[in-house]
Amino acid sequence: MTETSPPASADPDSEELVIHPPRHRVDRRFILWRTLNTLFWALGVMGVLVTLCALLDGMRTWLLPITLIVGAIYLVNLAVMPTCRYLVHRWETSDEAVYVLQGWLTREWRIVPISRVQRIDTERGPLQQVIGLATIKVVTASSEGGITIEGLDARVAEETVRHLNRITQATPGDAT
C-alpha cells in the first residue's frame, strides 16, 4: 500500500492559485428563456401530479406531500434560478481553449483545449429561435469533456462557431 502523506500543510506548491472566471456574460435574454423553459416544464409535471392527486384517492396520502414539495421546488426555480444562473454563467473562447463557468447552487468550470475539439455546432430549439438565442455545442473525444454554452445571442454564437471552426482546422492535433 502506498502510504498517504499528511494532509495539505506540507504542500510544496504553496503559492496561492486562483481560478479566473471566463470573460463574457451570456445574453440577458437568457433569463427570459430559462424562465419560460422552467415554466413549461413546471406546468407539465405539476399538471400530471395534480391530475393524479385528484383522480386517485388511494395514492393521495403520499402523493400529495410529494406534489407539494415538487411544487415548492418549481416555485423557487422559477423565481430565483434563472437570475442566479445569469449572474454566474460566463463563457470565453480563445485561440487555445473554450472555457465556461456554469451552475447556480453547484458551480462548474469546464475547459477544453482547441486542439482536442472534434466538432463545434450551434443548436437552436423552437423557444430559442423565437427569442433569438442559440446554444453552442463543443464535442470532444470524451463524452464527459464536451461543453455547451447556452443562451448566447444567435449572431454572436454563429460568429463564435465560425471563428472556432477556423481555428480548429488550423490547429494540429488528433483530437484524441
Binding site: M1, T4, A8, L17, R23, V112, S142, G145
Partner: protein, 530 residues
Amino acid sequence: MTAGNPTPDTTAEPAPGPESHPEIPWERLSARMVWINLVRLVISVVPGVLATAVLDTPTGPAWPLLVASAVGVSATALACLRFLSTRYRVTGERVERTTGLLVRKYRYVPRDRVRSVDSSARLRHRLAGVRVVHIGSGEARSSFKLDALTAATAEELRRELMPDAAGEPEEEAGRETLGPQPGPHEEVIARFRKPWVLYQMFSVWAVLVVTGPAFGLHWLLQPFGVDLLELVGELVDYERRGFWWSLALCLAVAYPLGFIGLALTFVMSHWDFTLVRTTAKGHPVLLTRRGLLSTRTVHRDETRVRGITFREPLLWRWLGLTRTSVITTGLRQGPDEDSAAGVLPRVRMWEAREVAARVLTGEPSPLEAPLRRHPRGALTRRLVWAACGPAVVTGVLFWLGRTDVLPDRAWLVGVGAWPVTLFAAVFSYLALGHALSGSYLVVRRGAVNRSTVALQHRAVIGWTLRQSIPQRLGRRVTVRIPTPAGERHYVLPDASTRQALAFIKGSTPQLAAQFIGEAESGGRRAAPPP
C-alpha cells in the same frame, strides 16, 4: 478530423461501402462451423426427445427441456444464417464485413484504425479447428467479430492486419497455430505463477458457480421425475434442521465446490499466461497469450497505452490483491476480466506494481508515488451524508409505515443501514488520494471498489471542476478529468482548491495558464463589469 465526414485525405480512395473495390472478392466464413453446430443441435435436442417421446412419462413439467431444445435449434439456425449471410474482405484501406439476409448491414474498420486482432475459441471451435476473430477498432460501433474462420485463415488474417516485423516459424509441432508465436524479440513482462490460482479462488460469488448449474440440472431432471430439490432436502435433513441450518449446511458444501470451480475455470483460461512486449507493424505491442484448451491472444498497440489502473474491491484489498488493466485509447474498458484492457489476472499488489513499472517504462513507476491525502472536510462531508441518508430514509419509511403503505417495521431497514454507510464514508475518505509523478497523474478513489489510476498528462483533454455550496465553504473542489482513453473520464473528488489547482497546473501547464493564475496577479483577465 471530424468523424464520419469524408475528409480530403480519403477522397483518393473510393468511399467506404460494399460496392467499392468490385475487383476484390468477398470471403465466406468457415463451413466447418455449420457442422459443429449441427452436432450441438443434436446434443441439445436429445434430452427433450428422450423425455417426451422415448420415456413418454413426463412426470414433471417438460417445458425446461423444450426451452433448451428451442434454444439449441435457434442457435444452430442463427449460426447457419450467419454462415450464409456473412462475407468479409480486406481491401487496401479497410477490413469490411457485410451481414444480414434481408437487410444487408455493412461494417468496416480502416486498416490503420485496427487496434486489436484477437482470436478466441471455445471447445466446440477447437473441435472444428476454427477460431473466432475479433477485430477491434476502438469503437464498439465499428468493431466486429468473424465467427468463425479456420485456424489457418484466422492466423493469416491476423498477420495481414497486424503483421509482426519479422517472419515467424510456421507452426510448432503439436502446438496451437494461434498460440505462442516466437516473435522477433520478446520481453517477458509477466508469466503465469501457480499461486495465482489461489488468488482467483476466493470470491463471494463462488457459490454461484455451484448453484447456477445445480438449478439447471434441477430443471433438466424434473421432466424425468427426479426432483433434485427434494433430494437435497432429504440429504441435509431439512425437516429436522430447519431452514437456516439447512441453508448453512448447503453453503458449507457449495462454497468449497465453488472455490474449486473458480480455480478450474482460471486454470483453463489462464494456463501458460504470458504478457510480453514485442513488435508488430513496427509498433511496440503488449501481447497476452493464455488458456489451456482455448488459447486466447490479445494484441494491444503500445503506442496507444495512456496509463494503468489498479482495481481493488474491498475483500481483495484486505487480501492484498488487485486487478490490473491498461488504459488505452481504443480498447473497450470494462470491469470484466475478459476485456482486452486487463493485462493481469488478480494478483498480489507488489506483483502488480512490478508489472506496472515494466509496462510503463521510461520513468519511475507512477503507481509507486506517494499519494496526497485530501482535506478533512472531505471526511466530514462523507460522514454527514452517511448520517443523513439513512436518517431521511428512516423518516420516510416510518411515515409510510404509519400511513399503512408499507409494513410498520420497515423503518428498521434505515437504522440498519447506518453502520454500513458510516463505514463506507470512512473507507471512501481513506481511499481518496492524488499525486503527480513524471508524465503521469495519479488519482485514487472508491469506497467499496477502490481504483487507482495512473494517466498520462497528454491523455487529458480538458478539465471540469465542480464545487457545491458546502465545498465552496470548505474550499474544496471535485475535478473530473475527461480523456479519450479508458473509461472516458476519471474523477478526483473533494480535493482542496489549492491541491486541485496545483494538480491541474502541474499536469497541463499550458492549458492551466488559460484559466488559473496566481492570486497576486489577480485581475489579469478580470471580467469586464456587467
